[in-house]
């Protein structure tokens, strides 16, 4: 049975919009008791609304970022008013809870059922804040701002129902300047800048909405925004110029006064600096207006193109992702697994380097390296195996150099010597010395050699077997000798080395390492081993 038309219920959905917005705060989803229990009943509602007001304040001033950090700072400021004392870590988490879980509903869309009499129930999407991802030098930074719904809610809670009209604002400003009430005029001119910025924000949010889903946007909204903004702007543009001329006149009058009197009294100097502020605001408004006109043009273009595209798509429907892709993925036959990439192919960038680039034949990780070049902010995770391999290779190389130096030193001395003497000699080769002392490698290696007691080169030559590269980074004398022999076939003419500990003599050394700006030093004490040399 059709309901008789009741006129007083016309536009009822407008009233429900406010209820829906408030409901999203009061009956918030994603409640986390760890935060909720910190507050007495209703306290958190007050804080959430305060956060919204703070975001509004920031949104209207484009020069100031509204990041999670700045919101957290604000929350930290107001928390004592609620007789609470929370650590800054908790405040940060609380802010994240308010912004992401409550105001953004954990990223998910939130709907509220609203009755449109005559048309039936409708689902109204509630979104009080929006965020903009900015690619900053610090990485991606999120900037929060109010949506139209957010403004609507806040204006209705305090400001008059309708936003203060532009023209009234301007008229007020003109009157104020006429009366030389500069102080108030400064506030008014700042308001003009803020309002024009707000309009710019509206347009940006609208473009975003169009891009996301054209079906969510109705034509009236577009017309209101475009027609309204454009006519208003054209009028504004002329009037702002008039105001600027008036400011110029005021400045001239001040100048004349200065010339005739010789100097300006305190009141007049104040007036002059106030006029300068107004002038700056007016100039700012005019340049912002120019940008706004340009943005409006791109808005119309994007809207028209998206509408045109959507005609082609309006007949097309979306399939059910879960039924068509996810479930078959869970049930697929083994031989299909290797073809799964085909599902992702249409979304991925073309990948011609892989097949067309000859270098990939020679470079072990060519493809990964190439990919690193494109998006510079992304750090490709280094695979564990690769780092480990590099570390082992480095240790092997250091050990090799140490054994080589040991043989070479023995050949030079041609008689037994102490570890301390070898150590002093190594200091002349600074890069090698630094490598050997980092992580105390040289001391560990000499201890291992002492453990072996003898390096019998003749014996090694006699029973040489196939040597494989040492895979663990442990000292492998045989591997070192094999590599040294390649460049030095006589192994420096050494027959045998014996590492002995004839007495309790200690070798002590202060080793300094530089990490960043800091210098660290440590003291090492080790038995001063004696190395007996037998030559060929």
């Amino acid at each position: 049975m059709a309901t008789p038309k009741l006129e007083f219920l016309e536009g009822f959905e407008q009233r429900m919009k406010l209820v829906a917005a408030i409901d999203s705060i009061i009956n918030r989803g994603n409640r986390k008791m760890e935060f909720e229990k910190l507050f007495e009943s209703g306290q958190l509602d007050n804080i959430i609304l305060s956060v919204l007001v703070f975001i509004m304040e920031r949104t209207l001033t484009e020069d100031e970022d509204c990041t999670l950090d700045s919101i957290a700072n604000f929350v930290a400021q107001i928390i004592p008013e609620y007789a609470l004392n929370l650590s800054s870590e908790i405040i940060h988490k609380l802010t994240e809870y308010i912004v992401k879980d409550i105001l953004q509903n954990g990223g998910e869309a939130r709907y509220y059922p609203v009755m449109r009499y005559g048309q039936g129930m409708d689902q109204l999407r509630i979104r009080l804040i929006d965020d903009k991802l900015i690619d900053d030098r610090r990485g991606y930074v999120l900037n929060y701002q109010l949506t139209d719904q957010g403004y609507d809610l806040l204006f209705r809670t305090k400001e008059v129902e309708q936003e203060i009209s532009f023209t009234i604002e301007e008229l007020k400003l003109r009157e104020l300047i006429k009366r030389k009430n500069y102080k108030k005029a400064i506030g008014q001119s700042a308001n003009l800048v803020q309002m024009i910025r707000q309009k710019k924000n509206d347009i940006r949010q609208f473009i975003q909405k169009v891009r996301e889903n054209i079906y969510d946007v109705n034509i009236e909204e577009f017309e209101r925004l475009v027609a309204g903004t454009y006519t208003l702007l054209e009028e504004e543009y002329g009037m702002m110029n008039e105001i600027r001329e008036m400011i110029v006149l005021s400045e001239e009058r001040l100048k004349e006064e200065e010339n005739t009197r010789g100097a300006l009294d305190e009141q007049m100097s104040k007036a002059r600096s106030e006029i300068a502020v107004i002038r700056r605001n007016i100039n700012l408004t005019i340049s912002e207006q120019k940008e706004l006109i340009l943005e409006r043009l791109s808005l119309s273009r994007i809207y028209k193109e998206t509408i045109a595209d959507s005609f082609a798509l309006s007949r097309a429907r979306y399939y059910d992702f879960e039924q068509l892709i996810l479930k078959p993925l869970e049930n697929c036959a083994e031989n299909n697994i290797s073809s799964f990439w085909q599902l992702l192919n249409p979304l991925f960038k073309p990948n011609p380097d892989r097949t067309l680039n000859l270098l990939t034949l020679y470079e072990r990780q060519a493809r990964l390296k190439q990919e690193e070049e494109t998006p510079q902010s992304i750090v490709v995770e280094e695979l564990g195996e690769d780092t480990e391999l590099r570390r082992i290779k480095k240790i092997n190389d250091c050990n090799l150099e140490f054994i080589r130096s040991l043989l070479e030193f023995a050949n030079r001395r041609r008689e037994s010597f102490r570890f301390g003497e070898l150590f002093q000699d190594l200091q002349s080769n600074e890069p090698l010395f630094n490598e050997l002392t980092a992580d105390d490698l040289i001391f560990k290696t000499i201890l291992k050699l002492y453990d072996l007691q003898v390096i019998d080169l003749n014996k090694w030559k006699a029973q040489q077997e196939d040597v494989v590269a040492n895979a663990t980074g442990e000292l492998d004398v045989s591997y070192c000798l094999y590599r040294i022999e390649y460049a030095q076939p006589d192994l420096y003419g050494i027959k045998k080395l014996e590492i002995l500990k004839p007495d309790e003599q200690l070798f002590e050394q202060e080793i300094t390492t530089r990490i960043g700006e800091e210098l660290f030093s440590r003291r090492i004490a080790i038995s001063d081993f004696k190395i007996e040399v037998s030559l060929e």
């Binding site: 992401k100 990223g107 595209d309 992702l344 249409p346 195996e385």
Partner: protein
């Protein structure tokens, strides 16, 4: 410039970046609408097995599903996991990628996009829940008819064996997810923000999903793929 040169120039740009934007390269973008240039590109598309489509001020080059020359191969996907990755690792990576797409665009409303961002912790919860169904099913498999393929159960077990909620090692749940996300990030589909705790789709992903990927006209192609009769499957 001759039409063929223009078409090649567009093709080259698309090959380099995968897309051509009106905002940065307006002239070349408009040339795409030139009938002659468009028809030359159409021949490239046919012979080289890709599509060039225009969506909201950007032209995208999309390799067709079976295109192994311009697209990815399973080996590539495995390399994204690790050099020693097994087939089951690549399966998990593909599955997580698809699951992320599902959480973002699996809505059954007129607008399939159902969220603005996705926290990694939420993604782990959802994956846990999904795989838990398969594991519970495994336990009852003797009495009930088997619902999942064996491989899927094995993948669920692999996921279940990964630990350390907070740790980021490659073999943990978070590490596995981040590995998948980084691949998608390199393809300019996702952004990892808030110290790698949150995922956001890029404009490219929104464009492609809402205007092409989810389109009903692809149903036959996808069904064909799963039936093993898809192009080059």
């Amino acid at each position: 410039m001759s039409d063929i040169k223009t078409a090649l120039k567009i093709y080259r740009r698309l090959l380099e970046k995968g897309q051509l934007d009106r905002e940065t390269e307006g002239d070349l973008f408009l040339e795409f609408r030139n009938g002659e240039v468009r028809s030359i590109l159409a021949e490239f598309e046919e012979e080289l097995d890709f599509k060039a489509i225009e969506i909201a001020g950007s032209i995208y080059l999309l390799p067709n599903s079976g295109n192994g020359v311009l697209g990815f191969t399973t080996k590539d996907l495995r390399e994204s996991v690790a050099t020693d990755a097994r087939l089951v690792d690549a399966y998990l990576l593909s599955y997580i990628s698809m699951f992320i797409l599902y959480l973002f665009y699996g809505g059954r409303n007129r607008n399939p996009k159902q969220r603005e961002f996705l926290r990694i912790s939420k993604l782990i919860e959802e994956l846990d829940r999904r795989f838990a169904l398969a594991l519970a099913d495994r336990e009852e498999a003797q009495v009930l008819e088997e619902k999942y393929a064996l491989n899927y159960t094995r993948m669920a077990e692999l996921w279940d064996s990964k630990q350390d909620f907070e740790e980021r090692g490659r073999k943990t749940k978070t590490g596995t997810i981040l590995n998948t996300c980084r691949l998608l990030e390199r393809e300019n589909l996702l952004r990892l923000v808030d110290e790698d705790r949150e995922l956001r789709p890029t404009r490219k992903l929104d464009d492609l999903m809402l205007n092409y990927y989810l389109d009903d006209s692809r149903v036959t192609e996808i069904k064909g793929f799963f039936e093993g009769v898809g192009p080059d499957a």
